[in-house]
């Protein structure tokens, strides 16, 4: 297994990504997002923001290792929503690496800007390279997003459950252009030791994002300023699979309303921990 941090701080870019209504609408349909503005393609579902910089992010990770890496955490910071007609340009930077008992957590930071060079969003992508070793942290860390147990002692402010369909990963693969074989072919999933098709981490996060927009943004995704979460267990595309998101109000933080959340699968397994959503007041 190769593990090489020599490109720390280096930047990768992707060619122009033009945005149109059809692509946004296809994405919303693929995650069964029922928001009319998302379904019409007038504004992007929040997790769509992952699509434009995905290549630069993954290539940056691949500069470090060719080994299989678990998507550990994702943290979107939104500056403006993605709308049709925008021309997006993305940069990804190898941001840092942190040792952990299971391996090394590699952090890639991406920036998406529009054609006028205005920031559209920033993202911290965190992947766990199992088996890799590192004596001490290098580079920068990603911002924290912890949901303290004390906050969860209160009853949830809101919760929502959305079912997954048998073709959910196939639809998401096409909408995001993320065709990872273990999300689409059982034999590929089994090769990696999984009993069923794996659900894309971003698809699970997109389901949590639906709950956030529906329950705490009043259906208006333009109000969402931050969406973060830690993937704590794999989600499998089993019959009857569904994602339940529970949200707790954390009160105002930095001039925004903050909510903590957790997502669990149909079996009750918590699949996203330390979820955080910040909403413009």
């Amino acid at each position: 297994m190769t593990f090489d941090l020599s490109r720390l701080g280096q930047v990768r870019q992707t060619p122009e990504f033009r945005v149109n209504t059809v692509r946004l609408a296809q994405f919303a349909a693929a995650i069964d997002d029922e928001s009319p503005a998302h379904r019409e393609g007038a504004i992007a579902s929040p997790v769509f923001a992952n699509v434009p910089p995905m290549q630069a992010t993954i290539e940056t990770l691949r500069d470090v290792t060719s080994a299989f890496a678990f998507h550990g955490q994702h943290d979107f910071h939104y500056h403006r929503p993605i709308r049709p007609g925008m021309r997006l340009f993305c940069r990804a930077t190898l941001w840092g690496a942190v040792p952990s008992p299971a391996g090394v957590s590699v952090i890639v930071k991406s920036e998406t800007r529009d054609e006028t060079d205005e920031l559209v969003d920033e993202q911290y992508f965190n992947a766990l390279v199992a088996g890799a070793t590192l004596t001490k942290s290098v580079g920068d860390v990603a911002p924290e997003h912890r949901l303290p147990d004390s906050a969860k002692s209160a009853p949830p402010f809101a919760q929502a459950t959305y079912a997954m369909s048998a073709d959910q990963t196939a639809r998401y693969a096409e909408a995001a252009r993320d065709y990872s074989a273990y999300t689409l072919r059982l034999e590929a999933a089994k090769t990696l030791g999984f009993p069923h098709l794996l659900v894309h981490g971003m698809l699970t996060l997109a389901f949590a994002g639906r709950a956030v927009v529906d329950k705490v943004c009043g259906g208006d995704s333009a109000r969402l300023k931050r969406l973060a979460g830690r993937f704590s267990a794999p989600v499998f595309l089993t019959p009857g699979q569904a994602i339940t998101t529970k949200l707790w109000a954390l009160g105002p933080q930095r001039g925004r309303e903050a909510f903590g959340y957790e997502a669990s699968d149909a079996a009750g397994q918590i699949v996203i921990k330390h979820g955080l959503a910040e909403v413009a007041l």
Binding site: R18, V22, R23, Q55, R177
Partner: protein, 534 residues
């Protein structure tokens, strides 16, 4: 000194493609992300990389006992995925695909069959009937494999007979002749242009070096598969985690729906496609898409600005040919500045274009001459035509037969075909050169120059003039036109005969249909103004 134009910030040759054969390129492009679609056809058929590779490898196994290296196989198919399966499976067996238009009939298909002596043919049901008729004239042809049934399973009954042969282990070599495409020159019967792996790899590499693509990009193909371009687009897509979106045939009415539904981000355009798109009913769909580039060979100058403004993406003019591959393209950073200029840009890395006179001597900046192409991995000659090949490649340069000029910044402009000549009193006059001079007049919209027979001088120059809208002959009388020409050209090149036209019949590539002008009457000097009689 004026600064010379270059393609901005691009990598060197072979920075995009490292493979030694197309088989290695295709195998790797299919292996890395097997579930990503390789091809999506406009009616909804999706073929993943895994399925494409599987079918190629099975069909390759079927072909193995039936072919030896260097064998030629005719492929005569419409825009179906089986065309690409056949191409890659033939390649794996070191055989050569000979491409025939699916619309060809006994005359044109017969010429190719007799010339190329194929051992096998792969054809659709309609096409196989044409080939069957020609069998008596082509004794080398042992078998015709007919595609039938649901695409992409048209060759399935052959695929299922055989074991897979891994494409990555195909024993092909870089100098194997992968394909023969028949090109119709201005004279004589079509010639089979032989292209090896090196040619294909070079074009795929240059296309990416000039225009980097992302995983989110999808190339739209609306050209016939029997051209080189669709397979280039597919190979480029396979190496950049892209997907080829294929139309059965170009259609204005379906165009924007296909672009939007399948998320095309670029396309390759030729001939009348720009004019047809501009004739389409305007609507919001044509601005709400993700297209970010079109590469077009021979963009009609007057349409260029409209295309960019109406559809909202750059149209890059390119100069390419089967023999020379990608010879010149407008640099991305100059696209806006050069809209409507008619420039075909500058050469990509390691291609050199010389502009020469009839003695192959370089002409001065701004002068019109023939484009000679130098560089690695040009075509490998014309099948069975060593003397024609030697003539075209004399001095080690490919003689394109195209007239171009280069300005002081190094930008190239296409002028016309060299064979389009008038021979007057022993002097050769390039029609394109006179037309270019005429078109530079501010009152002239379009001009066509043809030879008319002349007892004294052999041929004389006749010009047809289309004035700009609202102008008539009295605004620009013929004597002013000849005076204008004489101020810019040697006087023997100035037209003797001038005739005014309100419009011209155009070819599919939006050039004046000169053959129909020539066929208008037995004596084309009748009704024309004559410089000698006034």
């Amino acid at each position: 000194m004026t600064a010379k134009v270059a393609h901005p910030g691009i990598g060197p040759s072979w920075s995009a493609v490292k493979h030694q054969t197309c088989a290695a390129l295709v195998a790797e492009g299919c292996r890395d992300e097997p579930e990503r679609p390789a091809i999506i056809v406009e009616d909804g058929l999706v073929v993943t990389r895994r399925e494409l590779l599987q079918r190629v490898e099975h069909f390759s196994g079927y072909l193995k006992p039936r072919l030896k290296p260097g064998d030629r196989v005719v492929v005569m198919l419409e825009n179906r995925v089986e065309f690409m399966i056949a191409l890659f499976a033939l390649m794996a067996n070191r055989a050569t695909l000979v491409s025939i238009a699916p619309t060809a009939q006994v005359h044109d298909a017969g010429h190719i069959l007799k010339d190329s002596q194929p051992v096998l043919a792969i054809a659709g049901e309609v096409q196989s009937a044409v080939l069957e008729q020609l069998r008596p004239e082509c004794p080398s042809l042992r078998d015709i494999l007919v595609t039938s049934g649901e695409e992409p399973d048209g060759l399935g009954r052959y695929e299922r007979e055989a074991e897979r042969i891994p494409l990555a282990e195909a024993p092909c070599r870089r100098d194997d002749i992968l394909t023969v495409f028949y090109t119709s020159g201005t004279t004589g019967a079509p010639k089979g242009c032989m292209l090896d792996h090196g040619w294909w790899l070079r074009v795929v590499d240059l296309d990416q070096v000039l225009f980097p693509r992302s995983w989110q990009d999808r190339q739209l193909c609306c050209l016939p598969f029997y051209y080189t371009d669709p397979a280039i687009q597919l190979m480029t897509s396979l190496t950049t985690r892209g997907t080829l979106i294929a139309m059965r045939r170009f259609s204005v009415s379906r165009f924007w729906d296909v672009v939007r539904k399948y998320d095309a981000s670029e396309m390759l355009s030729i001939a009348s496609i720009p004019a047809l798109l501009l004739k389409g009913e305007p609507g919001p769909r044509e601005r709400d898409h993700r297209m970010r580039a079109v590469v077009h060979a021979g963009l009609p100058k007057p349409l260029h600005r409209q295309l960019v403004d109406r559809f909202g993406f750059p149209w890059y003019d390119q100069y390419g040919s089967t023999e020379g591959g990608i010879m010149s393209r407008v640099p991305v950073d100059l696209a806006e500045e050069l809209v409507g200029s008619g420039s075909i840009g500058v050469e990509p890395p390691d291609v050199i274009i010389r502009v020469v006179d009839d003695q192959d001597q370089d002409v001065s900046t701004g002068e019109i001459g023939e484009a000679l192409i130098g560089g690695p991995d040009l075509f490998r000659g014309y099948l069975n035509r060593p003397e024609v090949t030697a003539e075209a490649m004399r001095g080690g340069w490919y003689h394109s037969g195209d007239l171009v000029r280069r300005d002081e910044r190094g930008l190239l402009y296409f002028v016309g075909r060299k064979k389009d000549m008038i021979r007057r009193s022993g002097e050769n006059i390039a029609a394109a050169e006179v037309e270019a001079a005429l078109r530079s007049h501010p009152k002239i919209l379009e001009a066509a120059v043809i030879p008319v027979p002349d007892e004294l001088r052999g041929e004389e120059v006749k010009a047809y003039i289309q004035l700009k809208d609202g102008l008539s002959r009295s605004d620009l009388p013929p004597d002013q036109i000849t005076a204008f020409c004489r101020a810019r050209l040697a006087s023997y090149k100035a037209p003797r005969y001038i005739e005014y036209r309100r419009e011209f019949e155009l070819t599919p590539s939006m050039r004046v249909q000169k053959q129909s002008l020539i066929k208008e009457g037995p004596d084309l000097t009748v009704n024309a103004w004559d410089r000698e009689t006034g």
